[in-house]
Symmetry: C2
Subunit: 461 residues, 2 copies
């Protein structure tokens, strides 16, 4: 089914991609366009571009392709007459769900629910998942504070004009380097790059330092524990300070691994203590698994690596899950209909695909596969950074969710381009990190293929 | 192809819907669920529920179904092998678009672009369309104010911590009764119902009165012109006031007909003057056609009824367009890549459907059909309100985008239920309005069918 190696015909972007970029440039800003793709011809781990170049894809559409391109199970799902209606008739799920909706939720999303969560709200992308998770936390917090679901007359009238007490000065605590989306609520908790935030109005919400650890983690246990303790202390200080400011923290949002912000890891101990701080101060604890979820760390959810029974109050997802949404504890169910609501509330046609993806993951034991190929990948990165210490450092990862730092941003960008010209597609993150985000069908074989090519690039550098 | 009449077997919700609601209630808040649907069996204007009841649908999934259920053209599109890849491989459109993307944009979205707009940015739903339209206006406004695209060092550092000058105190002016979505940016411009806004932090942005007109418009020209003049004056006052407050208005957002807020109309003259006020004060003018767009007013865009060459700087859409997005003028292109960005930036599989929808609209002259059936519908409502003046008033509409007011909210809710029990599905909006939102395949025949049933309900009331 799959190809067995990259095959390059032109530099990337090739002439056809360049011409198409020019055409699209008359309609949109194309500053972020890398090249144009021939998705029909792409297969498994290999992305084919408009000029016929075939690349091993370790970036997978910003980590959003779960089981590779044109997977037969997904192709079959589209052409199966039983699913036709799900594609053609997109319902307003919040008011008129299809009759198989509860059953489909149980067999897909609830079958992989994080520990302690029996409830899930579907959404359509990472941003609406997080925006609505924040709203659920605000509603929960205010009901708790008020001691009742019934707002005062003052709250009712003031909320319609964006004023308190109806629109309260509540906040979400986030971390420097975090990324949770770009709509205005999400963006107030995103702090990874200037380009995302510049010129957009925001909320005065508290932002804590995220631990800046030394890698490999096993070698710097004491130093890293100190760094994590410093950040946790800052979190508690900020919660107290913002309460005094009159903008209490309704929830804390954190990624299990900061992705967009540079693949920053922290220990299970850090997250468990953070979760306890949230509980102690009456804040909800929201784990954003939009990029880490779906199996790429070797467990279905990255927070499973923490080894705790009570990881979170809310866990949001999207990307490789194909549908957006969030799991949550019972307490965070909104008290009335229409409080968490929009026209579509997700898309059952994406659930069709998710069901197939979960079947493939189980049938082919893809989480074990990810663990195995992730080991090869990380081990290979350790060897390369030992061999090229003036270029690479800080190799780190969990499963295939790996990264390595280049000397500086210019070197990083050069390495990405040179590796691409040899047929491997990678992504950057943070200031000077390279991130690896292959699909779950990435096998040891593909890891070796990448490492060989990357070694060539480094040796020529 | 279609059914020819409603057919009711049980009260709605029937026993099967009730049992499914109980099941879903263990997973989600079901306060807004009306009943469960059998989408496979639904056809054209008729929605079939889980208990086998068949209803004439004048609400169409909150106005989001363009050409009825299971339209043959859409069924064919899914099973056409040429589209398989678009369904199975959802790309990160902003970085790796499919090679046919520019061509597809030209043949679908650009073929119906509003006057003066040659650029379109796809998004996935109404909320991200509006959120990103607001961001585009903020970026445009700041670049204009700064006189350059290069931010100061102070702007760069402050934006990462949500503070000015990098995150400036800019505002969007909106109207009381407006609805533009529920994510935190959109929600700050939404003012239709308490339940949407309560307990959610917001921005201190200016809110103007929307004209409260008397209907039929032809009979109250003078009174209505006065009311509109009052609102326009308020808009100018607010722009000045917010500038003085240090929160300048970067853009004005308005619906051509306030939908969720109660189907409030205004005259072309009002909108043209509003557009000129925006220009005069250096604010962008954003027309939100999420609910009004796509043909339901008898023109493809409701703003075409204003008869002006320069209706707006930004026009956003979603719902019946199946994909979200916004058209905009050249000046509003972001100056760099990644400023307006997210993982998916839309979904080419929705463009596949939109292309088919546009073909059907053209082939079957559906805009003329809408104009014809809309006339029958509105004329019928006029007659009914003349016959039942103690129950109905203020019938109004454009195309099939019609509404009528009930005496009070209890009466409205009762009428909706009683009409549903006789096989017609309607929606409410505002405090006591009934809104009609049929698909574009709603014909004179269906209008008569509804009017007969509604007459029965009213005569028994
Ligand atoms: S905000 Fe998620 S799809 Fe629009």
């Amino acid at each position: 089914f799959e190809y067995d190696a990259p095959s390059m015909k032109t530099p990337v972007p090739g002439p056809k991609s360049k011409e198409l970029t020019r055409q699209l440039g008359e309609i949109q800003n194309v500053g972020a366009v890398n090249f144009f793709c021939n998705y029909e011809e792409s297969r498994g781990n290999y992305l084919v571009d408009a000029d016929g170049n075939r690349m091993l894809d370790l970036y997978t559409q910003i980590s959003s392709v779960p089981i590779g391109y044109n997977h037969p199970a997904l192709m079959k799902a589209v052409t199966n007459p039983i699913h036709l209606s799900a594609f053609v008739n997109r319902p307003a799920l919040g008011i008129l769900p299809p009759e198989n909706f509860p059953e489909k939720l149980v067999e897909s999303l609830l079958s992989i629910a994080p520990t302690g969560m029996t409830r899930v709200q579907t959404m359509a992308c990472g941003s609406c998942s997080n925006e609505n998770a924040y709203k659920a936390m605000f509603i929960w917090y205010k009901n708790k504070e008020r001691g009742t679901n019934s707002p005062s007359a003052d709250e009712v009238s003031s909320c319609m004009i964006n004023q308190g007490p109806g629109c309260p000065d509540l906040s979400i605590l986030s971390f420097m380097g975090g990324f949770h989306g770009r709509t205005l609520g999400c963006l107030a908790t995103t702090h990874s790059k200037v380009i995302h935030k510049l010129d957009i109005p925001s909320f005065d919400w508290p932002i804590a330092s995220f631990p800046r650890l030394q890698y490999p983690l096993e070698e710097f246990v004491r130093e890293n524990a100190q760094e994590e303790a410093r950040c946790l202390e800052e979190v508690e200080d900020l919660i107290v300070k913002w309460r005094q400011k009159g903008k209490p923290v309704a929830g804390i949002v954190v990624e299990p691994i900061q992705a967009e912000g540079g693949d920053n890891h922290a220990s299970p101990d850090f997250f468990i203590k953070l979760r306890n701080i949230a509980r102690k101060h009456g804040c909800a604890f929201h784990v954003d698994e939009v990029q880490t979820g779906g199996g790429t760390t070797g467990k279905f959810w990255a927070h499973e690596h923490w080894g705790t029974d009570d990881p979170a109050d809310i866990v949001s997802f999207s990307k490789k899950m194909l549908t957006g949404g969030y799991y949550h504890k019972d307490e965070l169910v909104p008290d009335k209909g229409y409080r968490i609501f929009n026209t579509w509330m997700g898309d059952p046609s994406k659930n069709v695909f998710l069901t197939e993806v979960l079947n493939v993951i189980r049938r082919e034991n893809l989480l074990d596969e990810v663990t195995r190929s992730g080991k090869v990948l990380l081990q290979g990165l350790y060897e390369l950074q030992a061999q090229y210490p003036h270029i690479l450092s800080r190799a780190r990862g969990q499963g295939t969710f790996c990264a390595v730092d280049a000397r500086d941003d210019v070197t990083r960008d050069n390495l990405l381009l040179k590796t691409r010209d040899k047929g491997v597609l990678l992504g950057g993150c943070g200031d000077r990190s390279i991130r690896f985000r292959p699909a779950l069908v990435f096998k040891e074989y593909h890891a070796h293929q990448f490492l060989n090519i990357f070694n060539d690039v480094l040796s020529e550098y």
